[in-house]
Every structure is written in C-alpha cells, then in structure tokens.
Amino acid sequence: MTYGMALICGIMRIINVLHAGFIMFGGYFACTLFVYFGIDPLFSSIILIPIAFALGFSIHRVLLARLASVSMQMTLLLLFAIWLIAQNLALLVFTADPRMIASRLPYAFEIYLGDVGISFQRIVLLTSFILISFSTYILLNRTMLGKAIRGTSQDEEAASYCGINTKLIKDIAFGIGTVLASMFGALATVLYPIDPFFGTVFQFKAFVITVLAGMGSIIGVIVASMIIGAIESVAGFYLKFGLLDIVTYTMLLVILIIRPHGLFKR
C-alpha cells in the first residue's frame, strides 16, 4: 500500500489523498466478488490488477495531468474531491454498515514460531505482500519501464530529452500506485471489516511511513514499515493503548525535525 503512495509521491511530487479511496475501492471490489461469486480476496486481488490500473491511468490522464501544470494545490483539491465523491458513492451503494469477508482461509492459530503464534491467514497475506513488494522492486529496477519511471522521477526534463514519453510514464506510474493500493484494500478485507471510511487510517499510516522513508524511496518503505510496526507493537503493550497514535505521530514530528527529507532519501 505504502509503495503506491511512495511511487506517486516520488514521481509526481504530490501527496495522493485519494489513496484511501483506492484502498476502499479494492476492499469493496473483493467484498462484492466474494458475496456474489464466492471468489476469495486472494484471487480477486489478482482480477483487480487490470481494472485498478485502468482506473488509475484514466484518472491521471483525464483529470490530474490537465491540472498538474497549473499548480500542486489544484491537484490536491481535485484528488480530495474525487475521494469525497467516492466515499459518498460507497455510502449510497453499500451503506455505512461494516462488512466482513468470511475467507475460506483458516484464521485460528495454525503455525507457531517458538512461542509466537501466527494465523494461517496472516502468513498467506504476508507472503502475498512480499510477492507484491518483490514484483514492484523488479518492475522498477530490472525493466525498461522501471528505468523510465525512475528517470522521470529523478529529472523529468532530462528524461524527456532521452526520448521518454514522461506524460505516459506518469499515467502508468499513477496506474501502478492505484493497483498497489487497491490490492492492499482487497487483501485487507480478510483481516478487517470494510466500510466507506475504510482506508483512511491506512492512508495516514502510509503517509507516515512515506515521510519516514523519504519521499519516493521504495527500499526505505520496507524499513520504515518495520520500524513503525515494531514501535506500535511495543508501545501498545507497554504503554497505554490509547497513546499509540501519539507515539507514531510524535515520531513523525521528530523525524521531520531531525531529517526533514526522511531516513532513506536518495
């Protein structure tokens, strides 16, 4: 999920406030396929790839690309407006009632690592997330498309002199970001109930991780996610549970003061 945000931040230099909307979209997509066709979210997240890509690509091509040259504020406002529209549409269609998917994957304890028990569902999801991360890494670092994306992210003008269609690359990058957020949304339905506000909490977390990692740093995202996860787990156990968010956001504040461009900025 955070990869998507990091990718979009890195290339387009915008904070994608619509990220939560894509997470929600993925969640409801998986939920609908499960209810009507019995398709498990693991598979629906794969079906989702071309649909989410087309959605992200179109949004960027039709709406964002037109405003990108005007100002970043306009782009932010537009993304925020789309997010509100999407949220209200979800309220209209799915209502505010939380929905949950009774995945066929067993969720009681299955695997023990020493004294630590991990449910089979979490193992499968973790594996999926590792696969997605690995694929994204390969795509960005071992393919021509990845090279073009990285080139555009580093210097758009220079990339265009090299013959890269930077406009198309930005459309594609936004599409990939959308796919990553939507896939996370679909897979997360296995663990969390979904409602039209689903995604907001994750979006804030993704934002903290992206800032901590350094805008656009993909490797940094992995390390920053682990740091945040570990701190939240430890703080949740030893400190007051209600103070979790304070701990996370104080850490963000400290990082911004000490290293304003994040821990892993290239």
Partner: protein, 448 residues
C-alpha cells in the same frame, strides 16, 4: 510568462470553479426547506367529536390547522441506515393518531391532526443545526423529536435549548443532557437509559453469577472503552460497581481505544498477560468486528468466560461472520421481540404492514419516542411549548415496549429501567438473561 496552454487551462479551471460555486449556492438554497413544508402524513380526516366530559371552551385565538412536530434525521449519508428507522417510526406513530383525527387539544376543544415535518441532514452535523434552527424559528414547531446518534443529537439539542422547544431524544450518553452534573435545560429529555446503566447491569449480572459460584471471585476485568463520552460513561458505570461490591471485581486492564482503530493485538496480548477473565468492552461495531477477529485469530476466544461488547453483539453481520465463535457473547439492549409484552407483538404487526425494514430496536425506540411526545402534547392540552415541556416532565406511560413497560422522567430528564442483557446461543439464537424478572435462561460462561 505563462504559456498559452497554461493560461487556457487556468481559464478552464476558473470557469469550472465558478460553475461549481454557483451550483453549490443553488443546491444550498434548494436544500434548505421551502418556507411552507407539506405534512408528511396527509391523513387529515374529519376530527371526531371531543369527549363530552369537558365542554369545548370558546377559543379566543385562531385554531391552528395542524400540530407541527419536527425531526431532523439522517435520511442519506453515513447514518442513513438508522435515520430511515426513526423517520419511518415517527410516521407510523403520527399516522396512527391522524387516522383518529389527531390529538385532542383541550385549549381548542377539538382534535387537531399532527403535521410531522421530517428533514434530512444528510448525516452532516453543520446542516443538522441549520435545519433544527429552521424548524424552531421559521416553521415554529411545538416540539422536536430526536435525530439519530449522539454526534447529531448533541448539536441539535443546543438549538432546542436556545429556542426553548421540548426535545425528546434517543441518546445514551449523559453528556447530551448534563453539564457538570446538572441538567443543561428543562427542555431536554431522553427516553433511553444511559450507557453507564448498562455497565452497572452487566456488573450486577457478574456479581449474581459470582455468588452462584459460576464465575471466580474476584473476577479479573479487562475494561476497554472507546475514547468518547459514551465510553467514559461506560467506564464510570464499571467503576461504580467495583466500589460498591468490594472483593468481587479486580480491574486488571483499563484502556481506551480510539475510534477507527484497526489493530488490537498489542492490547489483546496485554489483556492475556494480565490474566483477565472478563472482557468488558464498549466500542463501535467496526472496531468490535476487528477486535473479535483478532481475538479468535490469536486463539484466545474461549479463554474468557465473559465477553461483552456493550450494546454490540447481536448484529447479523457479527453472528454471520463468527458463527459459533459469537456464541455466549453477552450484550445489552432496550428492546427484544422475546419480551412477553402484548404491545410488542402489536407493534411488530403494525411495523411489518407499514414498512419493509426489518424490526430492529431503532424502530421501537423511534415509535415510542414519537408516541410519548404525542401523549405529552395531549396531556398539555395546549400547543404552548412550555406547557408541553411541563407535561413531558410529569408524564407516566405504562405500556411502553421497554423492560418494565413504564416510563417517567426524573429531574434530569432521564428515564429509569434496566437494560435487557441477552446472551448469544448456538444456531443464531439469543436468550434474555437479565434482569432476573425477565430472564429466560441463566448465564453460560464461554468455554463451559
């Protein structure tokens, strides 16, 4: 200098913004209700002859054509699900009375039909205030029925207080009615029992079962509450009983949860490490589903003889998702179709004829809310807001659908009756286990 393309885009953007602003202003003014709202229940039948015991006095002022009663509810937006119930229930209650010609108003010596004005705040708190203000100052309603959900009722009540309009609410958080332990306004009433009463009732149930030897003494409680006035009320109720019954309860974990929380594993680990055997939780449905999922996932469902999520636990979503892992969870409610009251049976029949919505407690609460307000208007014998307020303060209704069947308001505008505590049992069934006089079964600890 900007290129032509950029300038063109800027002009287009400015034009779009101007159009949106004009459209928004237009929508805003068309959304604000028309100055002459039509009654939602057009059953203006010929008034029947008033009782002969009180000869009709000659009115000196014009007799109003209708009794204007208002309600602002969420018919669209996030809270629409609940708002639909309240609106439908209000209409049902008004229709019943209008079929009889309306409410007999002694001051005018005749029955006057109710004009129920229900407006949609679109689940928007700002809009809810504007609409209640409109109802009070423009439409000049004589009384207000509540919206749905504390976040909406709280701002609505501030207008009702300012305009001195009797306002009968359906809230269970004391913050709406009280300020510094004192009643905010004599115009505010709630016909639902506050959430701290549920916490106290739950604790009474536990004590009863500790005395029977069903639960250990002292029972170790993990008290988890949402960080809202609702949660704080719950927490207060728990601690009141801890102090009242020394030696019975030991609170080993006392933690708040933020609305919107998704990960509960660190908290559940802490609860497990503290050796709790009663999980007393008051959180919203979405968080409760996540928490229970993680509880089951960690394999610790079954370790706690007592699990409650306050007023949550009977929802179809919850039962369908967790099936046998939702069994023996206990929860509190005001209304159950299992109560042996004839008025409940009659209400269910009426509701099914009137609406396609399933019978849920919101429906019963909405219906009783409107019915009690209409009774108060009749008792006042006047359409004067102060006299209606006084009548509401002194009213005693003995055929309500809630436990004990009797409602009257105390000096804080609150009602007093016990919650029904219900336990989920296998095959999607439930059993009332508290209060003792209405219990169908005894409490069964989880894992027994």
């Amino acid at each position: 200098m900007y290129s032509k393309g950029v300038l063109k885009t800027s002009y287009i953007a400015i034009a779009v913004i101007v159009i949106i602003v004009i459209a928004a202003i237009a929508i805003y003014f068309t959304t604000i209700p028309a100055p002459t709202p039509t009654p939602t229940t057009p059953t203006l039948t010929t008034p029947t002859t008033p009782p002969k015991t009180s000869p009709p006095p000659t009115p000196t002022i014009p007799i109003p054509e209708t009794i204007k009663v208002g309600a602002v509810v969420c018919l669209t937006g996030a809270n629409a699900r609940y708002g639909q119930y309240y609106a439908t229930a209000y209409k049902l209650a008004a229709d019943e009375i209008n079929k009889e010609g309306g409410i007999y108003i002694k001051e005018y010596g005749k029955k006057i039909p109710i004009e129920l004005i229900i407006l949609d705040d679109e689940s928007d708190r700002e809009k809810t205030v504007k609409l209640v203000d409109y109802l009070c100052t423009e439409v000049k309603v004589v009384a207000l029925l509540s919206g749905c959900g504390t976040p909406f009722i709280y701002p609505q009540s501030s207008v009702a207080i300012r305009e001195k309009v009797p306002y009968l609410t359906a809230v269970i958080s004391t913050e709406t009615l009280l300020e510094g332990g004192k009643r905010k306004s004599p115009y505010l009433f709630s016909m639902l029992v506050m959430i701290d009463v549920l916490a106290r009732n739950m604790m009474d149930l536990l004590k009863e079962n500790i005395d029977k030897g069903v639960l250990p003494k002292p029972i170790k409680i993990a008290n988890i509450w949402e960080n809202t006035p609702h949660g704080l009320d719950w927490r207060r109720g728990i601690y009141e009983k801890v102090l009242e019954y020394p030696g019975y309860f030991e609170v080993v974990v006392d933690e708040s949860v933020e609305v919107g929380a998704t990960e509960f594993r660190p908290l559940l680990l802490k609860i497990e490490a503290a050796g709790a055997n009663a999980l007393m939780v008051d959180i919203r449905l979405t968080e409760m589903m996540s928490m229970h999922r993680q509880l089951v996932e960690m394999g610790i469902y079954g370790k706690y003889p007592v699990i409650t999520y306050g007023a949550r636990g009977g929802e179809k979503t919850f039962r369908d998702e967790f099936k046998d892992k939702s069994n023996y969870v206990i929860w509190g409610t005001f209304f159950s179709d299992r109560l042996p009251y004839p008025q409940i049976k009659s209400f269910i029949e009426k509701w099914k004829k009137f609406s396609d919505l399933p019978v849920e407690w919101y429906a019963a609460v909405g219906y009783e809310n409107a019915r009690i307000m209409f009774k108060a208007i009749e008792a006042a014998g006047s359409l004067d807001r102060d006299r209606i307020r006084d009548a509401l303060q002194n009213i005693v209704v003995e055929d309500v659908m809630f436990p004990g069947q009797k409602i009257s308001f105390d000096e804080f505008g609150m009602v007093h009756y016990p919650y029904l505590i219900v336990q989920n049992v296998p095959e999607g069934q439930t059993r009332i286990i508290y209060p003792p006089e209405l219990a169908e079964a005894t409490f069964i600890p989880i894992g027994k």
